[in-house]
Amino acid sequence: MESRVCIFLLRIVPLLVLQGLTSGCSLLRTEEPVIFSESEPVIKPGIERRTITEADIDSEDFEVGAFVGVMSIEDFGSNVVYGVRAAYHTTEDFFFEVGAGTTQAGKTSYETLSGGAQLLTGSQRDLNYYNISLGYNVLPGEGFITSRYAFNSALYVIAGAGDTEFADDSHFTFNVGMGYRFLMNDWVALHLDFKDHIFESDLLGTDKYTHNLEGTVGLTMFF
């Protein structure tokens, strides 16, 4: 009897073990086919697939900065003007620019000659403006310093509209101008700008369009 049981056990145990092994193998095969498959490499390179999206690359289409210069207010002399500007470059040709500046009016010739007469009070002589303009890079190019260095630059024309606060009044103002952008490296630029701010004024009795010329130098950064 015992020997029969032994024989039975000897037969059944290897079968069970074999079955266990084969089932283990089949499990192994379904889980990790890579090890046994010849079509795929044994070691998978750990590269994540991803397409480059706009947000992944540093996009520098905005330009912000400050400027200082001289602005001549028609009939009221010239004074220092300073302000800030921000631009958005939509294409290599066009950009939108928002600017704001402040200056002070001097005395008219009449006020100077008459001695005591005052057309405006102290605070009325403050001139503040803002404008929104469209610029076009009409002559993009390069500037050279000695034979060793080249800098990108652009001559642009710009025009827009905005508000000029002067003598306690708001004036709808057109601006037209021209500027030169000189890039010191990829993201710092020097500007030279000349602009005419045109608005209607009745300060000297009759309505007339005044031309207020402004020349500035500025420093901007792209980001």
């Binding site: 397409t51 480059i52 690359i57 996009s59 290599e92 260095y149 080249a150 003598a167 490296n185 990829d186």
Partner: protein, 264 residues
């Protein structure tokens, strides 16, 4: 041989002879504005798949090609300006490549390089819109800025601020409007507008016996948005306003304006 470029950031390209004052000014500027592109960041790399990749000296079609990268070489994508990409080769050459050429390269794992770009599909699905408009406000000039938030594709809520430049008085308005666009999938999409706001009048100093005043204003209007390209829209509209005046009869005003807008 072309002159060196971007010498503010390439330290081994310092001149030996030019004025020390000039150099120190440039050094000072460099210290003031530490370039964000050189902070040891990791850049995306693309592999040149065409016979060569042309590098221009500047981000514009007219800038000359000063270097070509051979097929199979990897270049780092440093930054982008409008449709131009600044790349750096493995040997440290830096230049600008136009977008169409960049799209012929491959990512390191062999996929075609694609740059996500706002298109007409994004226009119909936009959530935010902002712009500026200028025009005529019953004979006076008007300038406006506005922001729209889209509750649904058809309905948006708008905050608008305007400045009016009149002969006898200036005014500021702030309005909240509800805009309905029945055909959001059209490239030239009409809309209707309904809203209300505050109208602040500031008479010119040359007039006497006029007080500053704030009144309620109602807005009814219609207009069109025209999808231009990328993220840009041209918008034109007509609005009919009623100003509920404190003293006399209500004043009716016609307003026409047009301008540019961006969407996000």
């Amino acid at each position: 041989m072309r002159p060196e470029r971007s010498f503010l950031v390439i330290s081994n390209a310092w001149p030996l002879s030019p004025s020390p004052v000039f150099i120190s000014i440039l050094l000072l500027l460099q210290c003031l504005f530490v370039s964000p592109g050189y902070a040891g960041e990791e850049y995306y790399e693309v592999r040149v798949a065409e016979p060569y990749l042309e590098m221009h000296t500047g981000p514009g079609r007219g800038y000359p090609v000063f270097h070509v990268v051979d097929r199979g070489e990897l270049v780092k994508v440093i930054k982008r300006r409008t449709d131009w990409f600044m790349v750096r080769t493995q040997r440290g050459k830096q230049g600008w490549v136009k977008r169409a050429d960049m799209e012929l390269t491959l990512t390191p794992d062999g996929e075609p390089t694609q740059f996500a770009e706002a298109g007409f599909g994004d226009f119909t699905r936009r959530r935010w819109e902002a712009g500026f408009l200028a025009g005529d406000f019953e004979g006076a000039n008007i300038m406006s800025v506005y922001t729209d938030y889209y509750l649904t594709q058809n309905l948006s809520i708008e905050l608008s601020m305007s400045q009016v430049f009149g002969n006898y008085s200036d005014a500021l308005t702030a309005s909240v409007n509800l805009l309905a666009q029945p055909f959001p999938e059209w490239r030239l999409s009409p809309f209707f507008l309904l809203g209300t706001g505050a109208f602040y009048t500031d008479p010119n100093v040359t007039l006497v016996n006029e007080q500053d005043r704030t009144e309620q204003i109602s807005n009814v209007g219609l207009g069109v948005r025209w999808y231009l390209t990328r993220r840009f829209i041209v918008r034109a509209e007509y609005q009919n306003h009623v100003i509920f005046q404190n003293k006399d009869d209500n004043q009716e005003i016609n307003e026409w304006k047009a301008g540019f807008a961006f969407f996000f």
